[in-house]
Symmetry: D4
Subunit: 173 residues, 8 copies
């Protein structure tokens, strides 16, 4: 039987461009994941089935992204004792504040680890999952440390690009 490290849930195809930020991180770090479309309200049984499917395949962490009254992460958290990471999506006139409050304000007892609204949230959800996985994987920790160095380099590079436009730019030394 196949096994995965992370199980990802989104509520509809329209959420996929957001969650691709997670997927790019997992692809880059070689982390096996399984993703599906399911809804807390429209397909509660399917949600439960997917969670069981994942738990049987040694999934260690769930990521659930949702907009509007974003119940999906909380409902997942009520069905498992694995860590659940929630990503709020700006999908309504309320610009993601509805999703943020629906995900982050979970009652005491059933935690959801909430990430920023939108693409930054999807990216951070994946990195946070890597941080958890690397507790038992020192090679992955090394890769994560390198990833930080690359972020630093990217900032220095950006400063170099800016230097072309503006002579008063500090690079490094």
């Amino acid at each position: 039987m196949e096994s995965f490290d992370v199980g990802i849930m989104i509520g509809s195809n329209s959420d996929y461009p957001i969650i691709e930020e997670s997927i790019q991180i997992f692809d880059r770090f070689g982390i096996p994941y399984i993703i599906t479309i399911t809804s807390a309200h429209r397909t509660p049984q399917r949600t439960e089935k997917f969670i069981k499917y994942c738990e049987d395949r040694s999934v260690k962490i769930f990521i659930a992204a949702a907009g509007a009254a974003a119940h999906l992460p909380g409902v997942v958290a009520s069905m498992t004792n694995l860590p659940v990471i929630g990503v709020p999506i700006a999908a309504t006139a309320l610009n993601g504040i509805d999703a943020l409050y629906s995900i982050v304000q979970m009652p005491g007892g059933i935690p959801v680890a909430t990430m920023p609204i939108g693409k930054a949230g999807a990216k951070n959800a994946a990195i946070f999952a890597l941080q958890i996985l690397s507790l038992a994987n020192s090679e992955l920790r090394l890769k994560l440390n390198n990833f930080r160095l690359e972020m630093k380099d990217s900032i220095v590079n950006q400063a170099e690009v800016l230097k072309i436009k503006n002579n008063n730019v500090f690079i490094d030394f």
Copy 2:
């Protein structure tokens, strides 16, 4: 087997003083109801069991009150096709805005009829339930019409009380 018209759910004993506003309306109008404490997240099976129990006893409407990331009304709505009325409770630092957004911003397909935050919401949930029930109960409709007249009288009475303090009060004529 007993039968009820309304099934009520709250998340904990601390929500009871809010939902009492519903109960006083049901007691006054002689509407049989059944109430329980259950949680969308801590006791999802219990929530489902209560809904089945109610549906077997001819419950026609559900009322669910919840605070924080108030998923209970939406989760109930995902488990039944009976009308579900949601009452947001101000239970956190966000003063009920979290509960309001978590209840009202349900995705298309699974409606929850949202009432005001707090006691006014619990009262209106019950009156709204009576309005639904009276579609098939003309005697109840009459009682509801009388209830409106009493509200009107209560306002005239308040004006009379105010007249004692302030001479410039308009009463009626």
Copy 3:
């Protein structure tokens, strides 16, 4: 005399693309409805006249959609004891929060069942109306249950579509 199940009110032609979500549901389920344009403030008598017209033609439920200081649903609720469903519309710089608060925060005694802001709200208003109507119509209940199954199928279909782009998609089994 013709008869209808649902009476719908919007404040102007510009609200029609929102309320079409309700109309598509009613058309699909074969529910007779009557719709008009009226304003709580600009045409209060017209609003009253429409309500009477509807009550004389056995309308059972009202739906009122409005933006800005959205008084229409509350004003309708003050003129009838039939259930009133309110749909907030994002029509101003406040992005529908003004409409949401103006509709949902009704004082105790005069309920309005509030739906989400915008198209999801219009869709859910219609489905909620169907849930009420199906209390006295078992055939309609069956159709509603089938509608849920279709929503489920649609989610599985979306997963299948996603599978084309991404190999790690869980479908069903």
Copy 4:
């Protein structure tokens, strides 16, 4: 028949401590007013009757104070072409933001002059009414100008009081 300059409406006795700020201004300036308790939703006919009663007694300005989904000022404005001043009251968990948005965001065509939330709003409603009345009453204008001077004096007095506690206070010269 008696005549009044201002007609005041509040929704219940509990709003009276707020509107007393208006009344103290009117008493001080000798402006005849008439006040009542009425509700946009619970007593729409009574609201209309009061407006007629006032218009027959040469009322020139209406003040309406309300909390929650505060429709009263807008409903009054829909029934008259006299200027209507609205005072939002903080009466719910939303701390008066619901009332503010429900009063200020009136659609184009039916204005309500909105004042601050709470007591400052009730005071300013009365002063604003005086400013309108003084357009045709030069004696009243003079009194208003004196009132401003008194406000100035009160601020100098406060500085003098503060001087007792703190030696570095600037008074005037």
Copy 5:
């Protein structure tokens, strides 16, 4: 010397498309007005000079529209005892909430009559000014009453237009 009924202030040319809604009303009703560009902060003396200029030419009402930390209406109100109407403009990332709060939350003693954010606010500011002016001008009052009838007709016309698209539209009778 020329005389005007209304003095209008905006903070920059970019606010003109908003305030044109006021101007169209004044043009239509034949109300003489004078408008200028001035800033509470960048040209306080100019603001004061304009107010004096207006008061010398029998202006009866001021309208001030502003965005961001919209101090202009309040600063005008601090310089005159004529009624001041404030129009919040959505000019920043905060979408007009900053302007709304800066205008409406004036301290007790110095009222500003606040209108809705944006074009609806500019339109209502003008209509509210007409309501004040018509207290001493019965011909204007008649025109205002006709204006309401036209608003009503416009709504009936909209219903007729909708009837072309949708057969279930209630017109009037």
Copy 6:
């Protein structure tokens, strides 16, 4: 050298009553933790020193609670690649919304797992830490599953208590 599983940071003694909710969970589950008071802004070196101290003693997860412009969790996350859990505290007039936004809206690349505002957040931070730790500790996972069962029992117990006051309470069966 001692070793700990969790390193906890708060900004001042006044935050201790909030973080006690975490500590009670760790004490109950026998999880070794180390806690300190440190500030992102007032003692950045101390923060760094504590993180190093913890990493040398095999800490696996950090919890940081903070109010106002709550930078502590983000600053901790910038100094380590271990998972960081943030708990917003309501410590200012903004009621914790400032802390929530400052913690949850981290830029892409540096995740902080955000919990609810206040005591529920501190409790959930600890439970979420346990969920991570139990990935490598099956005995802890068992304890966590039992903890869920106790939460369920507590809800049934609450229903039993409510039954004393209200005869219409559903218990279980």
Copy 7:
């Protein structure tokens, strides 16, 4: 003629307990200041007079604290080219958000340096003023550096106090 470094303005005696946080800092650092009560709206001339008075006495920085539609800091900034620091006060139902937006969202061209809402803001206003003054005063800079060290010590002291209650506290080493 006396001279001062800082000129402070508050709108009423009720703001004094907030601004005392500034005064304690100035007293402690031996910075001469002058304070008064004045209002942007009720005493605009007095505000201008105080600014002139201060400029004649070599004041270098202004601090203005205000609540509600807090125009005072902006109005001061419009009257001087000295740096103006604004402190929002929570004085209304909107809990200081109105004051914050009215102070911080100044239009381009007239800056106000905005501090946190309430006591933290008054304290930081004074420290920020010291930072400016110390640009030309190396002794003051030294004192400021010592002040930071004291803040650090205070945090270590707090940790020591906490150690009495909880054995798992990290102190320093």
Copy 8:
């Protein structure tokens, strides 16, 4: 060694169009500045290094612009006792409210002078820096006073432009 008056930090190249508003002011007034790209979280050491670099080159004021959970200004303030000016950027679904709260609500002891969200903020940050620098530079003060006069002229010019469209415009006299 070169010397600068102002050190500017932004988090990425995408923030440059905002901070250009500062740079245009500095270029116009001939103020030497140094700018870099650095991140509170991704490059904390680089941030510290840049601050040291600046302090060694007699920088007197820092400006830091950031979006999302905008920690950069606060982190800079924790590393220096020079005045720090923060500019919130609207970079997420929360439209800059997250950045505003993260910058302005700094705890007591570590001030950040907060400017408006976006371009107006960047412009005002530069002008505020000039106001500080002009405390020790009377020529710069003169230039600042002239800048105000130009702002006034620009407003008169705008009025003249408007006069072309609308005959009722007040210019000056």
